[in-house]
């Protein structure tokens, strides 16, 4: 903390400038996926984690690696497989011989001890292994053999999901899904983007990424920006707006949310949703809204920020039923209906 205060306190202008700079560096390597990159950075500065979903070959791993380079932070990658054990992630106590010849149990840190962690194809590991990340993601600490080891901030987990090869996979438990601030989708690039990808990746030179911060300042600077995000002003009415939106995704409470007799979301939620968003959804809305406000040069959250962030912040927190699957309804569709309904019910 003293290190943070030693540096100059970032301003609203600083935040937008740093953000755009990192964004630009990433796009030197990543072609397209503008929204995905922006949401990835927003999650980083909001202090959350990101679940990246996309078909193979769309640049999920490359995106995360590039981010690590642009931020100049420590970066680890874990390839999740079915035989991966929790200790392979968190680390374990091993017997080591000391200089004096004494043999003693020492904690060997796992790959989770880094700033940026890429969990590639996280759904291929067993739920036991997946949940090894829970404590690290939520509390920035790891407990092994009754001893807790804190993680160095910033700690940012980016997990990828392959939605196609579902055989031999273990869908993420709801508790773990809820710990991801945003779920980012990577779609196929269009033709123009594909041509650029070919030309930049098949040539003799690789695109170089310039780090936004010096190595020794990177973590502190990023923490300073994260603190600025937390201080962005959200009016009580906006907090209430986010709360209403989250409650609207819950089938039991959906009908109490809107005064509008034509609440379009009610039918959708009650018909397709098994469980709605948790309170973490509301936190994600406000935090994402704060980052958007800073990017727009504002010190206050607006309704537009919350509405814009809602699909990424809420869609993966909504558990759908069989009717939704059979009708081809996904979480984003439900959230879109909810946002439209809540927006129309705004006081004039």
């Amino acid at each position: 903390m003293s290190e943070v205060s030693a540096l100059e306190m970032p301003t609203v202008g600083d935040f937008a400038r740093v953000f755009r700079h990192i964004q630009a560096e990433i796009h030197k390597v990543i072609v397209g996926h503008e929204q995905a990159v922006e949401e990835l950075l927003m999650a980083l500065f909001a202090g959350g984690h990101v679940l990246i979903e996309g078909v193979p070959g769309t640049g999920k791993t490359t995106l995360v690696k590039t981010l690590g380079l642009a931020l100049n932070l420590s970066f680890n990658r874990i390839q999740f497989t079915v035989d991966l054990m929790p200790a392979d992630i968190t680390g374990t106590r091993v017997i080591l011989t000391g200089e004096d010849g004494r043999r003693d149990f020492q904690f060997q840190r796992g790959p989770v001890f880094c700033n940026l962690l890429l969990g590639d194809e996280i759904n291929r590991a067993t739920p036991k292994t997946q949940s090894a990340l829970l404590e690290a993601m939520a509390e920035l600490q790891v407990t092994v053999a009754a001893k807790t080891y804190p993680l160095d901030p910033p700690f940012f987990v980016m997990a990828t999901l392959n939605p196609i090869e579902m055989e031999g996979t273990y869908p993420l438990p709801e508790a773990q899904l809820d710990r991801f601030l945003f779920k980012v989708r990577l779609n196929y690039p269009d033709e123009e983007q594909l041509v650029r990808i070919i030309s930049t990746t098949t040539g003799p030179e690789e695109a170089g990424v310039e780090a936004a911060f010096p190595r020794e300042e990177a973590a502190i600077r990023i923490e300073g920006l994260k603190k600025l995000v937390r201080n962005v002003i959200a009016a009580p009415a906006l907090e209430q707006y986010a709360a209403r939106m989250v409650r609207a995704t819950q089938p039991a409470n959906s009908k109490f949310v809107s005064d509008s007799p034509r609440a379009v979301h009610e039918e959708t939620v009650n018909r397709y949703v098994m469980f709605g968003s948790s309170p973490r959804g509301a936190q994600a809305l406000i935090l994402g809204g704060k980052v958007r406000a800073l990017l727009d040069g504002r010190a206050n959250v607006a309704r537009e920020d919350i509405e814009a962030i809602a699909p990424s912040a809420l869609s993966h927190r909504i558990m759908l039923n069989y009717a939704a699957h059979s009708d081809g309804i996904d979480g984003a569709h439900v959230v879109e209906r909810v946002v439209r309904s809540i927006h129309s019910a705004r006081p004039v």
């Binding site: 009016a235 009415a237 004039v348």
Partner: protein, 461 residues
């Protein structure tokens, strides 16, 4: 020191923003109340004008229904105007929200209003970073003060609802000359509606409500009038038999009376000035005509006495004959009764022939007169040939279908003997044909001698 100075400056700027939002709120609320007031006036004026106009043209029952509908519309309109005005009314946060949207300030003003109202708490709770962002927000918002000037947020000073008020006033002004011209004067009847010629057989009669206006003037020849009397009497008897004086009837009667009085107040008319229709009746029944023409007295020997009983001419008869529940029919035009030429004697009633001197007195009465011999003693026209009286009856044009017309006629009893006596319809004895014989008692036959003993035994047992 610098921190407190910064806080003071921030609060000064906050005061400026609050003042600007207060002006916006004042303007918005002014429009809201204008909306309510103009809407209230517009609905009141428009509905009032239409109601007064309706009072001149509509019959009481129709007017009553129209007033009910108009009152409902007025209540709905006024309620909606007030509700809209209430919804448009905003508090400070609402004004800030509207200003945010219209000036595209993305929630800056709304946030300032909400946070500013409890800023002391915020200052105590949050650190310097928060204060820095708070100052930044105020500074940033104040730098955009041109964008949220009251005139830019709401350009209008007068609500658009004034157009509705002007339209209502224009409507009232357009109606006013008409109302002034017609006030206190009877309604002019259109030329094609003041007289109707009908066949009696196509006329459906029913008992009138007590409060109905006697707005129909019936003209017919004597024989047709007698048939009309019979028909009315039959209807009256049927009506009294059904017990028509139900609570609903009384309520309707009361309502119509109320509507009539309201109409009279609005129009300045008296009851006598209400619309009157002249109904010319013709009897197109060929069979009856031929019988009547042949020998009305012979065919209906009681007619004379019955005619004396069936007093439609209460004034003429001095109220001697009580005829309750009998519709009041007014002046038959004697001149029209004498139209037609031939068949004078045949068409005159037995009473006319028996007492022609009464006709002179009848002439002066403007009442229904079954004796139509005032014109030089000729009482032609009885038998009611429509072709020779009032032209072709309207009913004859309708083929076999015919139509019904309801006459709202008021039963009126005049004279000392009127009360307590029911109207007795004249009995009609249908004449026998030439092949028929009157009934005669059959002569008692004598008991045969052989059977007398046996019969005696049976009765003795």
């Amino acid at each position: 020191m610098s921190s407190s100075y910064q806080v003071r400056k921030t609060e000064e700027k906050l005061g400026l923003i609050f003042g600007r939002i207060g002006s916006i709120r004042l303007r918005l609320n002014s429009l809201a109340w204008q909306r309510g007031a103009f809407g209230l006036l517009a609905w009141t004026i428009a509905i009032g004008a239409i109601t007064v106009l309706a009072a001149f043209y509509l019959q009481p029952l129709t007017f009553l229904i129209a007033v009910a509908i108009l009152a409902s519309i007025a209540i709905a309109g006024v309620t909606e105007s007030i509700r809209t005005a209430w919804r448009m009314h905003v508090n400070r946060a609402g004004a800030a929200s509207i200003a945010d949207r219209r000036a595209e300030l993305k929630g800056r003003l709304e946030t300032i209003i909400e946070i500013g109202q409890r800023q002391k708490v915020v200052k105590l709770r949050h650190g310097p970073e928060h204060l820095m962002l708070w100052s930044y927000l105020i500074e940033d918002t104040l730098s955009r003060q041109d964008e949220f000037e009251p005139a830019r947020i709401e350009a209008r000073r007068v609500s658009r609802s004034i157009y509705g008020l002007l339209a209502a006033v224009a409507l009232a002004l357009a109606i006013a000359p008409l109302i002034i011209r017609m006030h206190g004067k009877p309604l002019p009847i259109p030329a094609n509606q003041d007289e109707m010629t009908l066949d009696l057989n196509d006329l459906h009669l029913r008992a009138a409500d007590p409060d109905s206006d006697d707005g129909v003037e019936v003209h017919a020849d004597a024989a047709t009038m007698r048939r009309l009397e019979d028909k009315l009497a039959a209807e009256s008897a049927a009506g009294s038999g059904k017990g028509s004086d139900t609570p609903m009837d009384r309520m309707m009667s009361h309502a119509k009376g109320l509507a009539g009085r309201l109409q009279d107040k609005l129009t300045g008319r008296t009851q006598q000035q209400r619309q009157r229709i002249t109904l010319k009746l013709a009897d197109n029944s060929q069979d009856m005509n031929s019988l009547e023409k042949r020998d009305p007295v012979k065919l209906n020997p009681r007619r004379k006495g019955e005619d004396a009983d069936a007093h439609f001419e209460h004034e003429k008869n001095g109220g001697d004959s009580p005829i309750p529940n009998t519709p009041q029919l007014t002046a038959n035009n004697p001149e029209r009764n004498t139209m037609g030429g031939g068949g004078d004697e045949e068409s005159s009633t037995p009473e006319q022939r028996a007492n022609p001197s009464d006709n002179s007195s009848d002439k002066s009465d403007d009442q229904v007169n079954s004796d139509s011999s005032t014109n030089g003693g000729s009482s032609h026209g009885v038998g009611a040939d429509p072709d020779t009286l009032f032209g072709s009856p309207a009913g004859s044009k309708l083929g076999g279908q015919g139509f019904e017309i309801s006459i709202d006629a008021r039963s009126e009893v005049k004279g000392p003997k009127a009360a307590g006596h029911a109207y007795l319809p004249p009995k009609v004895r249908t004449p026998l044909s030439s092949t028929q014989h009157p009934d005669e008692p059959i002569a008692r036959a004598a008991v045969p001698e052989d059977d007398r003993a046996a019969i005696k035994k049976v009765f003795e047992r």
